[in-house]
């Protein structure tokens, strides 16, 4: 009882002292500079991410208090007959995007890299589609895919006696058509990245190979491609991560049709949340998709580390 006041005063002086020391040591200035990052990330990144975990186990309608429902949201996601359709469409989009869109930038970058006077012009042309806002690019290609015999693409094909083709109006052709548009919109970025990687290929390697009698094609195959190997892997993983989350292209181009043939997983999440208002179900599906993407991200991280070391 007797020493109680002394501890109290020590306690009172202690923190105050520490505070003054912290302030004089620049602690306030440090905190001031950290504050924008801290507030913005806490409110709009860390909090929503943690809240997603909670939401996926709850029923929420924003009016009545949320209730815990265990794995019910996940069960309802798996029970949705549209899920296999959306999952397959997304995978199909990814496969087509890799088949159609993946080799183009590599070849293009190797070609452009050998140009001297026209390299600048080629790079500018390559990058033009990237500058076009996605919605405009999609609407523009919707015109190109006009199914009438007078449509842009059908007119061109008509010159060589093909078509007219239904493009977006047929369940079989809609997804490949969307992939063609997405490839058009995206190949510029990848080409420029490959081009930057090519420029860092050591000239001594080419000189040595040339002295050994390797021709131009051999050098491209044995030096250029191996030099790009890790970038190629990174671009592949990044492309797959991107295509798994494809939304704008099918949403604006076809709205998921015809007959759900272009409905993707992200569009399904959009429907759950913002058409039906079932936030729990939407969050559950986005967590499942994210889990898949995290595995890809982990591979990506591992590959980057390896790349940076070499």
């Amino acid at each position: 009882m007797t020493n109680r006041p002394t501890t109290a005063t020590r306690r009172r002086r202690g923190p105050a002292h520490a505070l003054v020391r912290w302030y004089r040591g620049g602690g306030a200035g440090n905190l001031l500079f950290t504050l924008p990052l801290l507030v913005i990330f806490a409110l709009f990144s860390w909090w929503p991410i943690s809240r997603s975990l909670v939401l996926s186990f709850q029923h929420t309608n924003l009016v009545t208090p949320a209730t815990w429902v265990g794995f019910d949201n996940f069960a309802r996601v798996f029970a949705d007959p549209l899920l296999p359709t959306a999952a397959w469409n997304t995978l199909w989009f990814t496969i087509l995007a890799v088949l159609i869109g993946f080799p183009v930038p590599i070849l293009l970058a190797v070609f452009i890299g050998e140009l001297r006077r026209t390299r600048g012009l080629a790079s500018v042309l390559v990058y033009i589609p990237v500058i076009i806002p996605p919605v405009v690019a999609v609407l523009l290609w919707k015109q190109i895919f006009d199914p009438s015999p007078n449509g842009l693409l059908n007119t061109v094909l008509g010159w060589v006696g093909i078509g007219p083709l239904p493009w977006l109006q047929s369940a079989a052709m809609a997804m490949p058509s969307i992939v063609v548009q997405a490839t058009w919109a995206g190949f510029g970025t990848t080409t420029i990245i490959y081009l930057a990687a090519l420029m860092s290929a050591p000239p001594e390697l080419y000189e040595a190979a040339e002295l050994d009698g390797a021709g131009i094609a051999k050098r491209a195959w044995h030096i250029t491609l191996p030099h790009l190997r890790t970038v190629i892997l990174l671009m592949l993983i990044l492309q797959v991560i991107g295509t798994f989350q494809v939304f704008t292209e099918p949403f604006v181009m076809t709205g998921g049709g015809p007959n759900n043939s272009t409905l993707t997983v992200l569009m399904l999440i959009f429907r759950y949340a913002f058409v039906i208002g079932d936030y729990g179900k939407a969050t559950a599906l986005s967590l499942l998709l994210a889990l898949l993407l995290s595995v890809l991200s982990a591979v990506y991280l591992w590959a980057t580390r390896k790349w940076n070391r070499t």
Binding site: P48, I128, T155, I192, S294
Partner: protein, 305 residues
């Protein structure tokens, strides 16, 4: 981290060799082959990449009839300048353009603010909690943004602590876009590469954290500010899904949302005129600042590694 050279600017011709060596370049067969390659590449790219944009420009001043019936003819019914006026006033492209500019500028300002102050704190001031913060920012880089799409929407409807509803205000786009880990880490890496002695000398001379930031760090950071600015502005101009969700009123919507809505209602010629207006600004900026654009594109690839 260093800013890689622009892949497009040719370096010293003696060092700048690719697969084909300078001596081979003097051979006639190689020169002819390269000429053909050059014509093929440029020709194909002009047709595939620039062609659709040229068609967009032509159709922006054509009648709907001409666009649909004779897409390759040069204005059989004459040039329709009125399309542009109708798009500007009729489907509100003018206001949407102003909204897009405001959204882009706000994203740019808040994005830079968070990235520069945060990068400075994490890389140079380094308080004790810096390591934890860096790890937490880095972690968000590997969590796909889809995880928080729905919960971010619910957050914006009712912001924690202040209980504000940001729907239909530009804040709902500006603030979430500032939480971009990529920009923070890009700036942090850059700051870590700056010479530390300069800051330490200034601190010894009595400069406080703000002085060092304002007078020393910022003037040295022009290249990275340029890269982050460009990345932020370009991605703001392209945004679609998020503004569609958080800006439901027509009066505040950017071009991407307005054009998407107009696609189902407006006349084709007017819609295409609106699309052309929304393309022309980024396209002109790109043609003027092509070196910076291409460098930051190459940079984005290098840093993602």
């Amino acid at each position: 981290m260093t800013i890689p050279k622009n892949p497009v600017e040719g370096a010293d011709p003696d060092i700048d060799r690719g697969i084909i060596s300078p001596s081979e370049r003097s051979r006639l067969s190689v020169r002819l082959g390269l000429l053909v390659l050059s014509i093929l590449v440029i020709g194909t790219l002009a047709l595939v990449a620039a062609g659709p944009i040229l068609w967009l420009a032509k159709s922006a001043v054509s009648t709907t009839q001409d666009i649909l019936r004779e897409p390759f003819a040069w204005w059989p019914s004459g040039i329709q300048w009125d399309n542009l006026v109708q798009a500007w006033n009729g489907i509100d492209v003018g206001r949407a353009l102003a909204n897009t500019v405001l959204i882009a500028l706000g994203n740019w300002f808040f994005g830079l603010l968070v990235a520069l102050t945060g990068g400075y704190a994490l890389a140079i001031l380094r308080p004790r909690y810096a390591r934890v913060l860096t790890a937490m920012v880095l972690a968000t880089l590997f969590i796909p943004s889809i995880v928080s799409l729905v919960s971010l929407y619910l957050t914006v409807i009712d912001v924690p602590l202040i209980h504000a509803n940001l729907i239909d205000t530009f804040w709902s786009v500006w603030l979430p876009s500032a939480a971009t880990a990529f920009n923070v880490l890009l700036v942090k890496n850059f700051f870590e590469g700056l010479p530390k002695e300069v800051f330490e000398a200034a601190r010894v001379d009595g400069a406080n954290a703000l002085d060092v930031f304002w007078r020393i760090v910022l003037p040295m950071s022009k290249p990275i500010i340029g890269v982050v600015s460009l990345l932020t502005l370009v991605s703001a101009w392209k945004e679609f899904l998020w503004p569609l969700l958080v800006l439901p009123s027509a009066g505040v919507q950017p071009l991407s949302v307005v054009l998407y809505k107009a696609a189902n209602t407006a006349e084709t010629a007017v819609l295409i005129a609106g699309m052309f207006i929304s393309v022309i600004i980024p396209l002109l900026l790109f043609l003027v600042f092509q070196k910076q654009f291409l460098r930051s594109a190459g940079q984005a690839g290098a840093i993602k590694g």
